[in-house]
Subunit: 327 residues, 2 copies
DNA sequence: TTGTACGCGTTATCAA
DNA sequence: TTGATAACGCGTACAA
C-alpha cells in the first residue's frame, strides 16, 4: 500500500480512501491510484483491515464431524447464507469430545464475528469459559441458556414416525436409539415411547436397541434385531445413517424391506431417497438449519437484534417405500 | 491483555511470554498471569497475532459448488489434513463463472497462508492477476503453469471403464459426457474414444450424449439414450451424479440395469455404492485429493518445498453390479 | 527474569 | 481534496 502511494505520488490515506470509496478523492487522483494498484497487483491485507475494523466478516462454523450427508448439508446451507451476506465461513470440526472442542473454540476466537456451534452436548459453561462475552453464538440442534439456537422438535418428529408405524398396524416396533448422552437421541427415544403409549402398546426395553448414529452401529443393531423373538415387524432408527446400515444388514440376512420388516429413519439426508427401498423418515431441513443459524448470528453481529433468537424449525414425516402398506 | 497485565501486576510483554511459553517467565509470575487470564476469560486476539506474525494459520479452499457427494468429500479431506497440521480451512464457493471467481479470490487474499482452488476452467492469468505473487496455490483437478496441482489421469480412467465395458462384450457403448469446455469432461471423452478405437469399435458421434455433470442432465441424457436405434447395450456416464440420474430414468422407463443396459459412472462418490444396482465406476480418491492438496500447500507455506508439486493420484476401476456379467 | 518500545498494514480522525 | 498520525492487539528486540 505504501508502495502504491509512493508510485502514485499520494499518501497511504488517500490510497485507502480511493480503494474503499470511503472519502472524497479527486477524480484524476482516483484514476491514477486505481491504475497503480492494478499495475502493482496490490490486494489489501485483510488481516490488517480486520484488526483495525474490529470485524472479520467471517462466521465460524464448528461441527462435531464432517462425515456423511448430514454435515455436508449443514455446511452447504451455512455457506449459502454467509455468501449471500458477503460473509465467509471458517470451518472447524472437533471429534474427540471436550478437550478438542475447547481447543477449536479458542482458536476460532478473534478470527470470527460470530459462531455457529454444533456439538452433541454443549454446555453453557464451556462456552462461557472459552469465548469472550458478547460474541454472538448460535447453537445448532440444542439449546444453551444465554445463546441463540436453531433446532427441531426431536420428540414430536420421532413420535410422528412411530405413530405412522403403529397406524400401519405394527404392534411390535423396535427402536435403534442414538448414543445415550446425546440430547437429540434422548428426545427421539422419548417421542418413540410417547407414541407407543398413545397407541396402547406396552413399552418393552428389549425393543430398544443401542446405536451411536453411525451406519456401522445400524448394521450391528440390525443383528440384535434379528435375534429378537418374536421378531418385531417394524424398525425405527433414530437417524438415517443407522437406517441405511440396518437396511443393508437386513437385506444381507435375506429379509425384504418392507415386506418382512418396515423400516424408518430420521433426518432425510440426501441418501435416504436413493437407497432401495427409499427410506420413510422424519424430514429435517438440514441445510436450512445451517443457513438459519448463520442468519441468526448475522442479525446479532449487525446489531439488528440484541441477541440471537431461539428458532425451532418444522419437521415433517416423509413416507417412502421402506414402510410399505398397512399390515 | 493490557487488563490482564495490569491486574497481574506485570507488563503485557510478560503476559505474552507466559501465555505462549515463548520466553523466560518466573514460575510464580507465570502462575499469577495464567490465573488472571483465566479469571478475566482472556482469549488472545487471533487477528492481531496474525498481523504480527504475517501468517494466518489458515488455508483457503475455493470450490465451484458445494452440492453433491463430490465436494463434501473434498472438504472433508481438506479439513482433516488442515486440522492435523493445526491449520484452519476457510471455505468459499464461486458458482457463477469468472466474476464470482475473481471476487472470491480477492476476498480470500490476506486471510490465508495458501490456497486450494478447484474451478472448472481456471487460467494462469486469472490467478496471476488476482493473487499476490508468492502465495502458494494448489489447483485441484487441473494444472496451471506455475502452480501446484493435484489431479488424476481422467483419460486413462475413462479408458479403463470403457475397456471394461467392451471386454464384457458390449459393442455399442454410449457416453454421457460432461460440459464441453470442462477439461475433465474432455479428457474423459478422449479416454472413451481411445478405448473404442483399441477395441476396434467404430466411433459414432450419435453415441456421445451431452451432459453437464448434474443428476438432472443424466436423466435427460437417458431419455436421448432410449431414443437411439438400435439401442446401445451400455451407457458410460462421465460422472456418478449423471449415472445416478440415468439409472433412475432408465428404471422409470422400465429397463433393468444391468440386464437390459450396463451402466457405469465416474468418481465413486459415496452414493455410488448405495444405489441399486451399485455403480461400476472409476474410483477417484476424492477426500485424498482434498487432503493432498492441503498437504502440498502446507509444504510450500512452511518452506519445506520451493513450490507446490504436481501430484497425480491413481484411480482404479471399481466393478459393481450395475455392469453385470459378460454379454 | 522483566519491562520498554517499535512495527505488522489498515482505517479513521483531524488539521491543512 | 489531501496528508500526517494515532490507534487496532499482539510479538519481540533490546535494554535493564
Amino acid at each position: 500500500m505504501r508502495e502504491v502511494a509512493r508510485q502514485a505520488g499520494v499518501s497511504v490515506a488517500t490510497v485507502s480512501r480511493a480503494l474503499n470509496a470511503s472519502g472524497p478523492v479527486g477524480e484524476e487522483t482516483r484514476r491514477r491510484i486505481l491504475e497503480t494498484a492494478e499495475r502493482l497487483r496490490y490486494v489489501p491485507n485483510r488481516t490488517a483491515r480486520n484488526l483495525k475494523r474490529v470485524a472479520t466478516e467471517t462466521i465460524g462454523v464448528l461441527l462435531p464431524d464432517l462425515y456423511g450427508g448430514f454435515y455436508s448439508e449443514v455446511i452447504r446451507g451455512a455457506e449459502r447464507a454467509a455468501r449471500a451476506a458477503r460473509y465467509h465461513t471458517l470451518l472447524a470440526s472437533a471429534h474427540d469430545g471436550l478437550p478438542e472442542l475447547v481447543r477449536a473454540l479458542r482458536t476460532l476466537v478473534g478470527r470470527v464475528d460470530g459462531l455457529v456451534v454444533m456439538s452433541p452436548d454443549i454446555e453453557a459453561d464451556v462456552l462461557r469459559k472459552n469465548l469472550p462475552p458478547g460474541l454472538p453464538v448460535v447453537v445448532l440442534g440444542g439449546a444453551v441458556a444465554g445463546h441463540g439456537s436453531v433446532a427441531i422438535d426431536n420428540a414430536a418428529a420421532a413420535e410422528a414416525v412411530t405413530r405412522h408405524l403403529a397406524g400401519l398396524g405394527h404392534r411390535r416396533i423396535a427402536l435403534v436409539s442414538g448414543p445415550a448422552p446425546n440430547a437429540d437421541a434422548r428426545a427421539r427415544r422419548d417421542g418413540y415411547r410417547r407414541a407407543l403409549a398413545e397407541a396402547d402398546l406396552a413399552p418393552d426395553p428389549v425393543l430398544e436397541l443401542a446405536g451411536d448414529f453411525t451406519e456401522a452401529s445400524g448394521r450391528a443393531a440390525a443383528a440384535s434385531f434379528l435375534a429378537l423373538s418374536p421378531r418385531p415387524t417394524a424398525l425405527f432408527c433414530a437417524n438415517d445413517a443407522m437406517a441405511v446400515g440396518a437396511l443393508q444388514a437386513l437385506r444381507d440376512a435375506g429379509l425384504r424391506v418392507p415386506a418382512d420388516v418396515a423400516l424408518a429413519g430420521f433426518d432425510d439426508i440426501p441418501l435416504a431417497r436413493y437407497v432401495t427401498p427409499a427410506l420413510t423418515t422424519a424430514h429435517v431441513p438440514i441445510d436450512e438449519m445451517g443457513s438459519q443459524a448463520i442468519d441468526a448470528v448475522l442479525r446479532a453481529v449487525r446489531g439488528d437484534a440484541p441477541a440471537p433468537p431461539a428458532v425451532t424449525l418444522p419437521t415433517r414425516l416423509v413416507v417412502r417405500e421402506s414402510c410399505g402398506a398397512r399390515l
